[in-house]
């Protein structure tokens, strides 16, 4: 018995309540002196329907969490479970097998001990399914009756429904926040395990990166876990090279589009630019690896560099910069457009030219939005993986030469998690520590971006 059936039951009962309440509200309206009631019949209907559906949803969510536990307990209490092996892996396997057969997910049992448990499982399941349906129906009935009895000609169903809608929207926005907290919590746990094996100081300040997933996990070599080359690679590719490309180009295209382009041209260029943001990063990776990186190598050769690599931080950074242009440009565009026309008029009326107006009035006034766009672009760039894998290699390298191979935090996370090490090996766990650092950095950048926007938002007006 899946929660889906309970959900359908809830919706059906909700619909019944909806229809009943609407019919009731129509009778109010017919009976009232002037044909008017405080709220439209539809609001009465929704009020009752929501009172049925929401409590049921809450119950279904709760039930789908606790029901498997209850079923398991009653199976264990059955006489057939007495000769199960004691706690451990084997016991769980047998239970799972019995459960799979009982629910119809598996055709037959493999383990003879499980065969005896199938029947108790089936019984427990149907027992608790019945309880589930009964409680669902009871809750729906209670909620519906309570709501239905409150209906009166002067009942303010409209305001009540409005308030419920608001609560639903609030819950929706909380989901994102709670998810963030959940992500952080899971990262923190694994990161703490990693830092139990390798000290944070070696990790944050060491300059050699080369975890060996095959080494003895109990005694990791801390000198192989220095993440500085990764931080540097991330910063160099994502925040320096990419931004040298993206900030000027993005800003200039935004200025052109908002201040100089005629409306027809703008109508074409802006969506085209935004298509760039929708290109999958793997495709950018091809472009970087097949076109840009060899071109850079050839140029470096012709300039006399000795033995340049076909993979370089420069290639990855340049392509990443192009990828980021729409982010910078679109945010800058929005915030320049949001500067009141009065500012522009005021400056032009002083005898300033268009470019003076842009430089001295519009860009300073739009700066919060522009800065926020750049911050978001940076956090997007340092979280980027595919382009780096394809164009800048996976070799950690602490170097200021943009023609060298380099790697970034995200690339190493992928490499460590998909490596040969067991899950609780420090090399694998290091991925969580890297992810944690990355998360904190992007969180910090977003936080700075938001506070910059907030602080200077009301600069004009």
């Amino acid at each position: 018995m899946s929660p889906a059936i309970l959900l359908f039951l809830a919706l059906g009962l909700g619909l019944a309540g909806w229809l009943a309440a609407r019919a009731r509200a129509w009778t109010f309206r017919r009976d009232s002196a002037n044909g008017r009631i405080a709220s439209l019949p539809n609001y009465h209907a929704w009020y009752v329907a929501l009172w049925i559906i929401l409590p049921v949803l809450a119950f279904v969510a709760l039930w789908s969490v606790i029901a498997p536990g209850l079923v398991g307990q009653s199976v264990l209490a059955s006489p057939a479970a007495a000769d199960l092996p004691d706690f451990g892996f084997q016991r769980q396997t047998i239970l799972n097998e019995a459960r799979a057969v009982a629910t119809g997910a598996a055709p037959a049992v493999f383990n003879p001990q499980a065969a005896a448990l199938v029947e108790p499982y089936r019984e427990a399941l149907s027992h608790y399914n019945l309880i589930g349906i009964a409680v669902t129906a009871l809750i729906a009935f209670l909620g519906g009756t309570y709501a239905f009895l409150r209906l009166k000609p002067d009942f303010a169903a409209r305001t009540k429904v409005e308030r419920i809608v608001m609560a639903i929207l609030l819950a929706a926005s909380l989901v994102a926040i709670l998810t963030t907290i959940g992500i952080l919590a899971s990262l923190v746990f694994e990161t703490a395990r990693f830092f139990g094996m390798v000290s944070p100081i070696d990790f944050l300040f060491g300059t050699h990166w080369g975890p060996d997933p095959m080494a003895n996990p109990d005694n990791p070599d801390p000198t192989r876990y220095g993440a500085v080359p990764l931080f540097w690679g991330t910063l160099f590719i994502g925040a320096i090279i990419a931004m040298i490309v993206a900030i000027p180009l993005g800003l200039m295209s935004a200025i052109y589009l908002t201040q100089y382009a005629n409306p027809t041209l703008r109508k074409w260029i802006k969506p085209t630019l935004e298509i760039l943001a929708g290109v999958p990063t793997v495709v950018y990776g091809y472009f970087a690896a097949l076109t840009i990186a060899p071109a850079i190598r050839d140029i470096a050769l012709s300039l006399g560099a000795s033995n340049p690599s076909t993979e370089s931080a420069l290639a990855a950074g340049l392509v990443m910069g192009v990828m980021i242009i729409p982010f910078v440009s679109s945010m800058a565009d929005d915030s320049i457009t949001a500067v009141p026309q009065a500012m522009r008029d005021g400056s032009l009326a002083m005898g300033a030219t268009t470019s003076e107006t842009i430089r001295r009035v519009l860009v300073p006034a739009a700066l919060p939005g522009i800065v926020a766009g750049i911050m978001l672009a940076i956090s997007r760039a340092i979280g980027e993986t595919m382009i780096v894998v394809m164009a800048a290699s996976t070799a950690a390298n602490l170097s200021a030469n943009p023609l060298d191979r380099m790697t970034t935090v995200t690339v190493q996370i992928v490499k460590m998690l998909t490596g040969e090490g067991s899950f609780d090996h420090p090399a694998t766990l290091s991925a969580f520590a890297l992810g944690f650092v990355l998360f904190m950095v992007t969180l910090g950048l977003n936080f700075i971006a938001l506070s910059v926007v907030k602080r200077y938002r009301e600069a004009y007006e």
Binding site: N262, P340, A342, M343, R344, D345, G346, S347, L348, A349, M350, G351, A352, T353, E356, R360, V361, P364, A365, E458, A459, Y460, E461
Partner: protein
């Protein structure tokens, strides 16, 4: 339609419009307006909403250029030279013909930088001392110096509405223009701030040719010596303010100032 100019004593026109029409796309917003604007007086443009008085004001420093569909026909002279001739430098024109807008629009910069904006753009000051002097002089002329002298580095947008508008006037006079155009400068202000602006206009008149667009006939009567009445894109009557308000030639002017419509 007769435009009455003949009751005016001969004055030298600072700006003079000859047969000016303005179009927005196909729509004619201003129809064949001719007017002389003298240096020594304040000229008021009055008329009901949508009569074209603001549009006409904006043609005087070519602010309509910023509207892509706007087109101007006819001739507007500044000191005898057509400002719509080809090769006219709009930047120079706007330095000579400044503008104050309906809603105060200080830049989101400090009070000092707001005033220093024009002088910097036009290179009017050599060095910090000279710039300081211009800022102080402009603020004094706009009657704002005493109120802001201790907080020149505060944001211009932190001032009250009336102070902001005087800041905008100070900003306009900082580049030492010859004409100042004011587009309903008091419509967003309370009566006390309005009185201060009107006082300021009286002080500035004579030094600058001032043209003010206003909705308020009382304001026109208080601050101006010349009044032009606009209606449906045409200039109906132009003359001494006292004549327009006490003894208008045109029935429509009479109707408007006595409150029959508008």
């Amino acid at each position: 339609m007769t435009v009455v100019h003949d009751n005016l004593e001969k004055t030298e026109a600072k700006m003079s419009a000859k047969g000016v029409s303005v179009f927005y796309g196909d729509k004619k917003a201003i129809d064949d307006v001719s007017i002389d604007i003298p240096t020594e007086y304040v000229t008021a443009f009055i008329g009901p909403s949508g009569c074209g008085k603001s549009t006409f004001l904006r043609t005087l420093n070519r602010m309509n250029d910023t509207i892509p569909t706007a087109r101007v026909e006819g001739e507007i002279d500044l000191d005898g030279q057509d400002i719509y001739r080809s090769g006219m430098d709009v930047v120079q024109l706007r330095a000579r013909v400044g503008m104050v807008f309906q809603k105060p629009n200080p830049f989101p910069k400090s009070i000092y930088d707001n005033i220093a904006y024009g002088p910097k753009i036009h290179g009017l000051a050599e060095g910090k001392d000279e710039l300081d002097a211009i800022v102080e002089k402009s603020l004094k002329r706009a009657g704002l110096w005493e109120e802001v002298k201790d907080r020149l580095q505060d944001s211009g947008t932190a001032l009250s509405g009336g102070q902001q508008q005087r800041l905008c006037i100070a900003r306009a006079i900082a580049v030492d223009p010859e004409v100042i155009l004011m587009d309903e400068p008091c419509s967003a202000l309370d009566p006390i701030a309005t009185a201060k602006i009107e006082e300021l206009i009286a002080e500035l008149s004579g030094r600058f040719a001032i043209v003010i667009v206003t909705h308020s006939m009382q304001q026109a009567a208080r601050v101006s010596q010349r009044t032009a009445f606009f209606h449906l894109g045409k200039m109906v009557e132009y003359g001494r303010t006292s004549d327009i308000f006490t003894n208008p030639h045109e029935q429509r002017t009479q109707d408007y100032i006595t409150g029959r419509y508008g």
